[in-house]
Point group: C2
Chain length 510, copies 2
């Protein structure tokens, strides 16, 4: 469609063609949409302050200490605990999987907040743990709702590595803001079991499921315009060996891809903020930063990288001392800057006080449970809610979601007090993170390895029954009992008293 | 091709086009400033008439005749052609897969409509053909956009059997209506290769990829409030054998699940219409019905089933003759009604004239290409656009999407003329369905079986190069050249002239 191929009938037409090449047919529809906006008559009103009303997390009660694993693996002391920055790693035994964990956490959230299953109008799952290549995890969760007569629930599974949960969350928020919203709640589930073949990546596993209730007037509201994404075609971590649960992973490449995506998203977000607000954005403009956390060391590097970004952008967040120390690195190419150990060291030193204030409160669960893939970022956010509770009122929290392959978004949440049961203090009381962490059972590395071997054998298998041993599970936990000869999976729920909750508010919340 | 698709004469209205195109240069700023202002006051206004602006389809040029396959398989004459209602079945050879097909169709849509890749702000894929369990098909498509400097594109893959495309479509429409919309286009891709193990399900395969451009003021607009879903936990068709491309399928159960979901969705949709409009909904209230089409016979049964629903609801669409003929079936339980051959026969007879008018125009591509999983419903819709073109202006089209497992939604589209290049007549001209079907290459069943055997061997494999034989592919088609020892996939594009298109409008129609 080159304009020279067809002589223009008149000058005006010629101009129009030229401009159309620049604006690429975008304009007409856009103008029409603007004119509809200005009509302000029939356009339906959009729900306000849409975001997260409530949240719950489940992780397996079984874990291994990273220190013990180091010794067992013959790794140098501190390789996992300091090198990766991890404390413990949770894992599923043969009675748990991503389906059982999501059944557990959804049931738990509905019960604890007193939500009628009929009030859910959309349910989306983010996961990269494939048990079936066609049937979604969402359809397994429908068992909870079908028995209450509710089958009118939109949404399926979103998939791209650790980013699927963020995609599901955005989809759910958009639904509430859209004309197809029917006034009911959305529900987002992130569920994953991260396991690696024996070798250097094995200590970066973990497992968890998170459920988030979505609706308007939320205590955790989206600042939807403040968002930057970076999506590209890379092979840093992927799962092409369909018969194996383990990924193919290039750890060094994946770290660089993560940091490149971080730079790109931060740049986008800053630009959008500056257009909206007419002033520069820097790390000073957010109270907390929450990162997808494959292992804590990368989170430390990431925040330091934002500081380096601010330095390169000449942002006001960088004081004179820092400027001086970073000056020698100002001429590095991007590629060089990802590889420079000196830069990494100096930026981390400079960022340390801010890291302690703005990032460290979100690191608890990722360090204690490990990489939870789609659930990792939200487990970090839950750690922040747990640690800071209603002191977060009025705060802006910036989240960075990364999924290998790769897909990444940096986005912003604005926190307010909310109203019971959807208040920050009630949410953190219901989460009860300390109790969840303390009531776990440590297994020795030998037992962990033995379980991994059984799980390898079971992956994709049919026609077996599990031990049905749920002695380590808390009451109310779902567990896998059987996979029949047609690969159909059966689950049971461990009976017992749940915590006493009235009207969705923890009676003795603190 | 109607004259409205020709380049407009140089008149005064051209000036407004010119102005609109200049304005669009500032579009993103403009939108952001408007939202910023409205955020300060009240909720932002929602984009209107959001829907499908443009659409393109790609299917492999290689197919087998169902009649020939019947004879080859030793099946009784008419088993596939009349029993299933199918004419031909397309399939991928070793050089094509869901990734290559989606690269082809996205590139084609952007080129044919003159869309700048920078103007895409969201890209979502629906598919149930898993090549990698973690890395999304969307990330492969990012190759198209990265080279134009656009990596800020939200969205990942949506998965649940044949429903993933509908989920992606809803997500994209909701995004445009949400506060996170940045004024750019959305793009939805449905891509699947449906293959079955030797046996009764094998003739129900097919393959295709569809791309749909999403935005406001669309010629194909959503009636978002007119929608009913039915989601449940069933094992009618699933893919638990991770090492095999073939599904586990219970054909009879799947048909019943499909019809149960159809009943439930129709009931929901009718109830919602009645609440909104204060009057009864029946099949008379829509001009066309488009069904997900695993095979045509099920589409015939489905429309007949809607007629039976109207009979049970005592709807005005059922005349006295029909009432009399259906009276003996009024006392059947639901379960009985799904099994009754007599009921099936009589409802199909009664529905025949309406089927011919309201359904048959959407059956062309599904009968010629086969089941395209996520793309099937939209291939049926494209058949309708192809057959009815701008006579569809003012029409309501009801679509029924079904994905095993199961997830289903019935929803409504309202069609209007649109404006070039996004007009119904230009869309059908660009689709050029007749040419696409006619330029295919028939292969004999023996060759088809041989290719299926090779594909079985290749599924999940690494370290091979393909024949790179693209002699049967049209110019502009992407094809697979190699999968290396790390499972990384490489594609090339067949060179050659594309069709001559100016300003996104087909110059000489069809």
């Amino acid at each position: 469609m080159s304009p020279s191929a067809d002589p223009p009938p008149c000058e005006l037409h010629h101009l129009s063609l030229l401009i159309s090449r620049i604006s690429s047919l975008f304009s007409l529809n856009f103008l029409l949409s603007i004119s509809s906006i200005s009509q302000q008559k029939e356009a339906p009103e959009m729900a306000k302050n849409v975001g997260i009303l409530a949240v719950d997390i489940y992780f397996p009660p079984t874990y291994v200490q990273q220190e013990a694993l180091e010794a067992h693996d013959g790794a140098s002391k501190g390789k996992y605990t300091i090198g990766l920055g991890q404390d413990c790693m949770a894992f599923c035994t043969e009675v748990e999987d991503v389906i059982s964990m999501s059944l557990t956490v959804v049931t738990s959230l509905l019960e604890k907040y007193g939500i009628d299953p009929k009030q859910i109008g959309r349910l989306e799952v983010g996961s990269e743990t494939v048990i079936d290549k066609s049937k979604s995890i969402k359809t397994f969760l429908m068992q909870i709702f079908e028995k209450h007569g509710n089958t009118d629930i939109e949404g399926v599974d979103s998939t791209n590595a650790c980013y699927g949960g963020t995609a599901a969350l955005f989809n759910c928020v958009n639904w509430v803001e859209s004309s197809s919203w029917d006034g009911r709640y959305g529900l987002v589930v992130c569920t994953d079991s991260a396991v690696y073949a024996e070798g250097p990546a094995r200590p970066t596993g973990g497992a968890a499921a998170i459920a988030m209730l979505i609706g308007p007037n939320a205590p955790i509201a989206f600042e939807s315009k403040l968002r930057g994404s970076h999506m590209s075609h890379v092979y840093d971590f992927y799962k092409p060996n369909l018969a194996s649960e383990y990924p193919v992973v290039d750890g060094k490449l994946s770290q660089t891809c993560y940091l490149m995506a971080l730079d790109s998203c931060y740049k986008q977000l800053c630009q959008k903020y500056e257009k909206l607000e007419g002033k520069q954005f820097s790390i000073s403009n957010a109270d907390y930063f929450v990162f997808h956390s494959p292992y804590n060391k990368l989170v430390q590097k990431s925040f330091a990288r934002l500081l380096f970004n601010d330095f390169k952008r000449n942002a006001s967040s960088i004081d004179e001392v820092a400027k001086e120390k970073l000056a020698p690195f100002s001429t590095l190419s991007n590629d060089e800057s990802y590889q420079s150990r000196d830069l990494e060291k100096i930026t981390q030193q400079l960022a340390k006080p801010l890291y302690d204030a703005k990032v460290q409160p979100s690191t608890l669960i990722p360090k204690q449970v490990g990489n939870m893939y789609t659930a990792s970022l939200y487990a970090a956010f839950i750690s922040l809610l747990h640690n800071k509770r209603d002191s977060l009122v009025g705060n802006r929290v910036i989240l960075f979601s990364y999924g290998s392959g790769s897909t990444a978004t940096m986005f912003s949440l604005k926190l307010n007090e909310g109203q019971n049961p959807f208040s920050l203090s009630n949410i953190s009381a219901i989460l009860n993170v300390d109790k969840k962490l303390k009531s776990r059972h440590e297994l020795v590395p030998e037992k962990f390895v033995e379980i991994m071997q059984l799980m390898e054998h079971r992956y994709g298998a049919k026609d077996f029954v599990t031990s049905k041993d749920c002695s380590l599970l808390a009451p109310g936990t779902y567990y896998l009992t059987e996979v029949d000869s047609l690969y159909r999976r059966f689950y049971a729920k461990k009976d017992g008293e749940s915590e006493k909750i009235e009207n969705g508010v923890v009676a003795n919340g603190h």
